[in-house]
Amino acid sequence: MYKPFIPQRMNPVRALFLPAAIALVIHACGPGTDTGEDPQVTTLGSVEVTAQLEEIPSELPDIPLYDYAYVFKYKVLQVHRGKVDGDTIYVGQYNPLKPRSQVADARSGRIGGNLKQFKSGDIHRMALEAPIDDYYMGGIINKYFEQNPPLIYWAVWTNRVIQ
């Protein structure tokens, strides 16, 4: 035998409380502001910037057997340390499909950060070194090669910024 489904009338107090509670939880769990500052990003590397990832110029290769650095184009929003020429920089990120907290290995040396995923338009606070070839010896995919970027930085630490 099947028990018929009969909708129950909700208590009016509950009816008001429930949406409010849900809204509170969403607000509490949602992103607040975060400058990306931490002890690593403010001390590692010779340059520290907050910059916006302008684009991801091609699909990031997903080949776990092979390590590579991928060159991203950033618009510099703020220079915290060091000197940067112009407001556009090119930054090599090691194995960009991995969260920054898990990316360091024997080839990369000490790198990291709290960024989990690269998304076009996101803002990152980064500690950088340059040129990339002085700090990283491995495959580099540079879709901006034809634009002849004057300098490619090596991302030592990359944190997400939430504004």
Binding site: M1, Y2, L65, Y66, D67, Y68, A106, R107, D133, D134, Y135, Y136, M137, G138, G139, I140, I141, N142, K143, Y144, F145, E146
Partner: protein
């Protein structure tokens, strides 16, 4: 009664749906696996059943010096071995249960060899091995081996033509190091070369795996005097090494669009001249990645490894070593329908398959005794 009948009918429909979804999911799982549709021939240590041609090849190479390679010893670690090029007279040169030894390389005269030695249990990474562990230098026979540097030092070391210097890579430079004094006698920009750096027998050139024109995994040649670089192949190529004539380079490459059913493709062994022209297939086989390509000292024979997994098997136990005549290039192994479509001119010469190893090298010096 009507409600009961309706319940039974609904139950039957739901059960049928569950069964259908179960089988559909199994089917999807099988077809979405990464295993390519191309049939992969079984791997055996001995390779295909020897025929008269391979027996003739074995006889031909038997007394042409020795090949050295690393392989798993009886103690389970990687040791260095030598054998005659037909696989006979195999000897374990190191037999060290407390170390993993890899990638032996002879001087041109065979009087010395270098290799990397790692702590027991270290996994040999197919791309990082050049700066794993210590650089060891020994006599060509493997005797009197001594550590040349500390862990990770003298990365990607290879011999100068006279064996008095080694060529190394650092993050900033290519360095030429005097073996007697361990002093850097010259350094020059590495111009994007990041692994597998080797000096030509005539001393005029380097070859290596490099970033070039925005691309990774390019094989390049560098003028040893000026540092000027020219590409050999700029698509998915690596593990270059020199022909004895210093005018040709052997390397592995995994061309794009090999098969509509296998987007990853298989790595094949190629040769090209120093200008990057006349790129020609030496050996390939669908179902296998061909790495470790090297020439015999007279340039007449080619040695390589043949592994069903990309990377050449260094992380496990290597892969069967193959030997063929260069005059039989291009040769294609197995059915390899995709590769045969791309290279219909294959000569299908005999290939002598030996035991599993990794990074073989060949010398005519009588290092292993008679």
């Amino acid at each position: 009664m009507g409600k009961t009948l309706l319940g039974i009918i609904l139950s039957v429909i739901v059960a049928a749906g569950v069964i259908f979804l179960f089988f559909m999911k199994r089917d999807v799982g099988m077809t979405s696996t990464a295993v390519p549709d191309t049939p992969i021939p079984p791997v055996t240590a001995a390779g295909p059943v020897p025929d008269a041609r391979t027996a003739e090849l074995a006889e031909e190479v038997r007394n042409k010096g020795w090949i050295a390679y690393c392989a798993r010893g009886e103690n389970g670690t990687w040791d260095l071995f030598v054998s005659r090029p037909d696989g006979s007279d195999k000897k374990n040169l190191t037999n060290t249960p407390d170390y993993e030894e890899a990638a032996p390389r002879f001087t041109i005269d065979g009087s010395k060899m270098l290799y990397r030695r790692m702590a027991k249990g270290a996994v040999i990474d197919h791309d990082l091995w050049g700066f794993q562990g210590e650089l060891m230098i020994a006599e060509g026979s493997g005797a009197n081996a001594i550590p040349f540097g500390g862990d990770g030092e003298f990365a990607w070391a290879s011999w100068s033509p006279d064996g008095r210097r080694i060529l190394c890579l650092t993050k900033k430079d290519i360095e030429i190091v005097d073996v007697a004094t361990k002093q850097v006698v010259r350094s020059l920009s590495r111009h994007g070369i990041y692994q597998q750096l080797f000096w030509s027998p005539d001393g005029l050139w380097f070859t290596g795996t490099a970033n070039h024109a925005g691309r990774q995994w390019c094989v390049v040649r560098m003028n040893a005097e000026t540092g000027e670089v020219n590409p050999i192949l700029t698509f998915q190529s690596c593990t270059p090494d020199w022909f004895p004539d210093s005018e040709h380079i052997i390397f592995s490459s995994r061309p794009a669009n090999q098969s509509p059913t296998n987007s990853y493709g298989w790595s094949q062994l190629y040769m090209a001249d120093g200008e990057g022209k006349n790129v020609e297939l030496i050996y390939g086989e669908d179902g296998y990645h061909i790495y470790g390509g090297a020439l015999s000292p007279d340039g007449q024979y080619v040695v390589f490894t043949k592994c069903p997994e990309d990377g050449g098997g260094s992380e496990k136990s290597g892969a069967p070593i193959g030997i063929m005549r260069l005059s039989d290039a291009p040769t294609i192994g197995g059915e390899s329908p995709d590769l045969r479509r791309a290279h219909p001119q294959t000569k299908d010469g005999p290939v002598l398959m030996l035991e599993a190893g990794w990074e073989p090298a060949w010398t005519f010096a009588e290092i292993g005794g008679n």
